[in-house]
Every structure is written in structure tokens, then in C-alpha cells.
């Protein structure tokens, strides 16, 4: 009962919270100040913006893949749909003069379109479990990309759509930074609500959750739709900054893979995991691109294997193993210590049965 000697878990949680809070605040200050420094180029800002996009998508993926346990292998489809919906609205043309939408409502509607489609598709695909769901979402991703490619009157087909240029890197950077911060705070808050706990219950035992009164269908579809909407928003923002979309750059498998890998690297089903993991993965990729262009995919594949084999609980889990209670605030997976040493006594209970 070493656990109890260590004191009230609430106080340790608060202590861990201060550590995490201080770290997060320091990182945030750096990210806020960086663009204001004279040496920061537009290219750096773009790189950072893309990193934030990657983090945002990973956080959203983790809502269904990590918390609810529905591993979505086609999550990038929402990014592409958001991007295309916004791009179509902005570049609307009717016989000559442009009547395209203002970007702000177009981006909002783009996200909504992704959310509504996620609700409709999730309602069907989330009846499937485990690998069947993953494959169904992968199929959805490929199907939607092909639909976009073929439906040229609306989507411009394989040629894509060109948007009016509006290149204010700083604005987009700060916008996405704010989005990521809000999204991270939202995830943290959600995990502490009954709804968030119910999502984890669905991951742990869906039949059990259902028989204990949790409307699993509605809960998991709700979170899936939200994740779709939120990723669609990042997609819409990306399309506008990129000033161009075509099926092959809007619907990219690697975006899903990055979200999955980043989340796993950081810690599946934790609040900090996707943020930490997507950041590390992003810079690792930059490094590999710069130095090992021919082997970067190979290296990433090996990395994924190493993560699964040696850090199954991700970077967040490493803190836990060292005894830091960081995880108890951010991870909620680190409740495994303290019992193992008394397994002999536990054996008696078993044998008595």
C-alpha cells in the first residue's frame, strides 16, 4: 500500500498539473513570440503552421482512435472534404464574374460539411468494430477521393481548384495556434466530464457500457462527427492558405498515418500524447527529409515498429515508468503500479475461489 503512503492522489495530481501547466505555458510563450522575432521568415512560419495542422489533426484522431477506441484509418478524408468544400465555395463561378464566397463563411461551412458527412458516414461505419471499422474508413477515404476526382463540374476533377491568393502567414499561424490551444484545452476538459469517461468506457468494453445505460451509438457518433468537423476546419484553413487544391494533395494517406503514428508515439488515449507525438514526429520528418530523402519512408516504418514494440504507451508512458505522476493528470493510463508486488497475496484470493 505504498500508494497511500505517497499521499492523496488529488494533491499529487495537482502537483503534476503544475509541472505540465508550466511546460505547456513555456512552449506556448515560445510559439507566440517566435513570429515576432526579426529573423523569422515566412518559410519558417509556414513550417510551424503545418506542424500545428498536424497536431490538430492528431488531437482529433485521438478523440475517436484513442479515447473511444475506434481506430480510423481514413481520418484524412475529413481534412480533404473540409478543404474541398471551402475551396469550392470560395472559387464559385457563374458565367464569368466571380461570385465566390468570402473566405470566413466558406471555411466555416467547409468544416460543417465535413462534420455533417462524418455524422452520416460514422453512423453506418461505427456499427463495425475493430479492424472492420478501420478498413471501412480506409475505403471511405479512397472512395471520396475518387468521387472528387470524377465529379469535375463541381470539384474541378483532377485539375483541381485555384483560389484567389491571400497570403498572410502570420494570421494563419496565430489562428491555428489558437485553434490547437483551444482544442487541447477542450480535450482535457472533455476527458474529465462524464461524457469523456463514457467514451473511454466504450473503448474498454462497449457491451458493458451499453448494458449500463450508455447510449454508445449516439456517444461515439457524436465524438466522431466532432472530430470530422474539427479536422475539416483544419483542412479548410489549409486549402485557403495553399491557394490550390487537387485530389492528390487534399486527400493524402500520409495525413492519416501521421495522426496515427504521432498519437501512438506520444501516447494513445491521453490528452498530451497527440500534441507531444505529432510535434516530435513532425520535426523528425523534417530532419529525415533534409538528410535521408531516399530512406525517409523506410525510417518512418521502422520507427512505427519500434514504437509499437518498445514504447507501446508512448512518450507519455515513459514519464510514468520513471515514477513521475505526470500521467495521472494527462494520461489516465498509469494506474498500474503498487499492486504488482503483492501479487502473491492476490493469488490466495484467486485460489480460494
Amino acid at each position: 500500500m505504498r500508494r497511500e503512503a505517497a499521499g492523496d492522489p488529488g494533491s499529487r495530481e495537482r502537483a503534476a498539473g503544475r509541472t505540465v501547466g508550466a511546460t505547456a505555458l513555456a512552449a506556448l510563450v515560445v510559439l507566440v513570440v517566435l513570429p515576432l522575432l526579426p529573423g523569422t521568415s515566412n518559410a519558417t512560419l509556414l513550417t510551424l503552421t503545418l506542424m500545428l495542422t498536424s497536431i490538430g489533426v492528431a488531437i482529433n484522431w485521438n478523440l475517436t482512435g484513442g479515447f473511444t477506441g475506434y481506430v480510423d484509418f481514413g481520418h484524412a478524408v475529413w481534412f480533404g472534404i473540409g478543404a474541398y468544400a471551402a475551396a469550392i465555395l470560395i472559387s464559385l463561378q457563374s458565367n464569368g464574374p466571380q461570385v465566390g464566397w468570402h473566405p470566413v463563411p466558406a471555411i466555416v461551412v467547409g468544416a460543417l460539411v465535413a462534420g455533417v458527412l462524418a455524422a452520416a458516414i460514422g453512423r453506418v461505419t461505427m456499427r463495425l468494430k475493430g479492424p472492420y471499422f478501420s478498413i471501412a474508413m480506409l475505403g471511405t477515404f479512397v472512395a471520396v477521393r475518387e468521387i472528387v476526382r470524377v465529379w469535375s463540374p463541381l470539384t474541378g476533377g483532377g485539375v483541381g481548384l485555384t483560389l484567389p491568393p491571400y497570403l498572410n502567414r502570420e494570421l494563419f499561424y496565430y489562428l491555428e495556434l489558437a485553434l490547437v490551444v483551444v482544442l487541447a484545452a477542450f480535450t482535457w476538459w472533455l476527458r474529465h466530464t462524464r461524457f469523456g469517461a463514457a467514451l473511454v468506457a466504450i473503448r474498454e468494453d462497449e457491451v458493458g457500457a451499453e448494458t449500463r445505460g450508455i447510449d454508445t451509438t449516439r456517444f461515439k457518433t457524436a465524438v466522431f462527427s466532432f472530430a470530422g468537423l474539427s479536422t475539416g476546419l483544419f483542412g479548410a484553413l489549409w486549402a485557403y492558405q495553399n491557394t490550390f487544391v487537387d485530389p492528390d494533395i487534399a486527400f493524402v494517406e500520409v495525413r492519416t498515418i501521421d495522426a496515427v503514428m504521432g498519437t501512438m508515439l506520444g501516447g494513445l488515449g491521453t490528452v498530451a500524447g497527440p500534441i507531444l507525438g505529432a510535434t516530435v514526429l513532425y520535426w523528425l520528418r523534417e530532419l529525415l527529409w533534409a538528410n535521408l530523402l531516399d530512406y525517409h519512408l523506410l525510417t518512418q516504418g521502422v520507427l512505427l515498429i519500434v514504437i509499437v514494440l518498445f514504447v507501446p504507451r508512448g512518450l507519455v508512458g515513459l514519464f510514468d515508468r520513471r515514477g513521475a505522476s505526470l500521467l495521472e493528470l494527462w494520461g489516465w493510463k498509469g494506474r498500474s503500479r503498487g499492486l504488482r508486488q503483492s501479487s502473491a497475496a492476490g493469488g490466495e484470493v484467486e485460489a480460494a475461489s
Binding site: R194, A201, E204, G213, R335, S336, L339, G346, E348, A352
Partner: protein, 295 residues
């Protein structure tokens, strides 16, 4: 007494196998009913049909005057039926307390409560139940780290959290220490008499059923073989043949009485019980301990 749960002609087939073939069963409000039968007689499948975990192929199930035959499991739970599982279902990666907090009456929650933290009253109620089940000390422990017996207790606690009108207990005492079995029986009796909660128990521990239930239903090969008071059932020749195999074996089964000191092999004393609970469970594998002989 009006029937709280009433099932008529429930049929459930798995391919060519008829697991439950036209079973009638009813439980009155506040009644304690035992459901016994040999392995494969359809007890758990019947539970799955009643709690709507499995769709039925034929039959009608009414609960509290509502036809629940076509409802989904969470709707049934919200009407006030809770259950435990033969193969334990706890949320392994969550703490013991969180498991309890997640077993509330979800039907009573509005949207603001759904997006709020667990309230103090729920915490209190969970702590009280956990203390009673001797799990109080483990409330911050990961449920997956508990031993099989402790998880069984946790599941019972979870089934009582939602203030149900009917609890279906599927082998609630298997894997639980005998002294604790007596405590569980006391608690069930108390919940039953104080709050008029009805219980339907699937049990292999005949004495446990005899102690608690006014009425016992015997299932065999998916059909009701006999029904009556525990005394009548245990004297029924067809039951003895189907369930106990032969009278001698039946008598041995009845030796699983908690107070019986003469069942040496499989029992441990109270001292080791409390030591075990204080030291708590084994790690990952719930069955690991079963193979270890008690010295």
C-alpha cells in the same frame, strides 16, 4: 404482486443450436428468484435476451409494464434493469472509482450533467458501496489490476450504482471468498428489503440460492425443467438427475456452504482473506492465481 419482469416464449438460436427454446419467466417487484441449471442450459443466453444484449428470435419481454423486446440495451438499463456478466466486464483501464462513477443512472442525466464532472453524491454513494465490498482501499487502483474475485465484486457494486429495480446477477459468487459470499448475500438481502429491488440470480452455489431466493427456476437444454421453492427443487427427481447428476454429487454441491468448516481443500480462513484483500490482487492475468495451490 404484479410482475416486474415478464418473459413469454423467449427463443434464441445460434445457427442450428437452440440455446433458449421458448422460456417463460417472471419476476415480481422485490422478488428474489434463482435461475439454476447445468452448463449449457441457456441461463446466460436467457440473461442476454432479457437485458437485450442479444436480440431474441421469438417471444415477448415486458419490464415494468413496457415492452422491451425491441429496445436497445441502454434503454433497458435506463428503465431500471442492471446486470453482471459471467465473463466479467469492467473497464480495465479505468480506476475502480471511475468504473463505479460510470455505472450511474444515465437516463436521469440532462446535457449539462453529461458534460460535468461526477458529482459529490455519486462519489459518496460509490465510496460507500466500495467500502462495503471491501474495495474501498483500491478505489484509485486500475480495475484491470484487481484479482478475478475483486473484479466480480466491483461488477456487483456497479450493478447497484444505478438504483435499479431489477438486478440480474450472473454467477456473482464464483471466484469470491466464502466469507465475502455471506457478506454479499447480506447486502443483497438488505438492498432487497430496504429498496424493494428484485434479483434474478444465476448461480452454481446452490446454498447461496437457497438462502436468498423464495423461488427457483431450473433450466435444462433451453427449457424450464422445474420451478418452485428451493426445498421443492432440491427434492425434485428430474432436477436431481439433470442438474446434480446423482444425489451424491448433489449433496457434495451443497457443501459449498460458507459456514461449513468441513470443506478443507478449496477454502481459506478469514485471516488469509483479509490478508489477501489488504495485499490486494495479482497483476495482469485474472486466472493466474487459480493454478497456485494454497499452502
Amino acid at each position: 404482486m404484479t410482475a416486474l419482469l415478464e418473459a413469454r416464449g423467449v427463443v434464441k438460436r445460434f445457427g442450428g443450436l437452440t440455446a433458449v427454446g421458448g422460456v417463460d419467466i417472471s419476476v415480481a417487484a422485490g422478488e428474489m428468484v434463482g435461475l439454476v441449471g447445468p452448463n449449457g442450459s441457456g441461463k446466460t443466453t436467457l440473461f442476454d435476451c432479457l437485458s437485450r444484449v442479444q436480440p431474441v428470435d421469438a417471444g415477448l419481454i415486458r419490464f415494468g409494464g413496457v415492452d422491451i423486446t425491441g429496445l436497445r440495451a441502454h434503454d433497458v438499463a435506463r428503465l431500471g434493469m442492471s446486470r453482471t456478466f459471467q465473463i466479467i466486464r469492467v473497464y480495465r483501464d479505468l480506476s475502480v472509482a471511475e468504473n463505479m462513477h460510470l455505472s450511474i443512472q444515465w437516463g436521469a442525466l440532462g446535457v449539462p450533467e453529461l458534460f460535468a464532472r461526477t458529482d459529490a453524491a455519486t462519489r459518496c454513494r460509490a465510496d460507500e458501496l466500495l467500502d462495503l465490498l471491501l474495495l474501498g482501499r483500491l478505489r484509485h487502483e486500475r480495475a484491470g489490476n484487481l484479482s478475478g474475485g475483486q473484479r466480480r465484486l466491483l461488477e456487483i457494486g456497479m450493478s447497484l450504482m444505478s438504483e435499479p429495480r431489477l438486478v440480474l446477477l450472473d454467477e456473482a459468487t464464483s471466484g469470491v471468498n466464502p466469507t465475502l459470499v455471506a457478506d454479499i448475500a447480506d447486502r443483497i438481502r438488505a438492498v432487497n428489503s430496504e429498496q424493494q429491488v428484485a434479483f434474478l440470480l444465476v448461480e452454481h452455489n446452490v446454498q447461496f440460492v437457497a438462502d436468498l431466493c423464495e423461488r427457483v427456476v431450473v433450466l435444462d437444454q433451453g427449457a424450464v425443467l422445474a420451478e418452485g421453492t428451493p426445498g421443492e427443487i432440491m427434492r425434485d427427481p428430474s432436477v436431481i438427475e439433470a442438474y446434480f447428476g446423482d444425489p451424491g454429487e448433489g449433496a457434495r454441491d451443497q457443501n459449498r456452504v460458507p459456514s461449513d468448516p468441513g470443506a478443507p481443500d478449496e477454502r481459506v480462513g478469514e485471516g488469509s482473506l483479509h490478508r489477501s484483500l489488504a495485499g490486494s490482487g495479482d497483476a495482469a492475468d485474472p486466472d493466474a492465481g487459480r493454478e497456485e495451490p494454497v499452502s
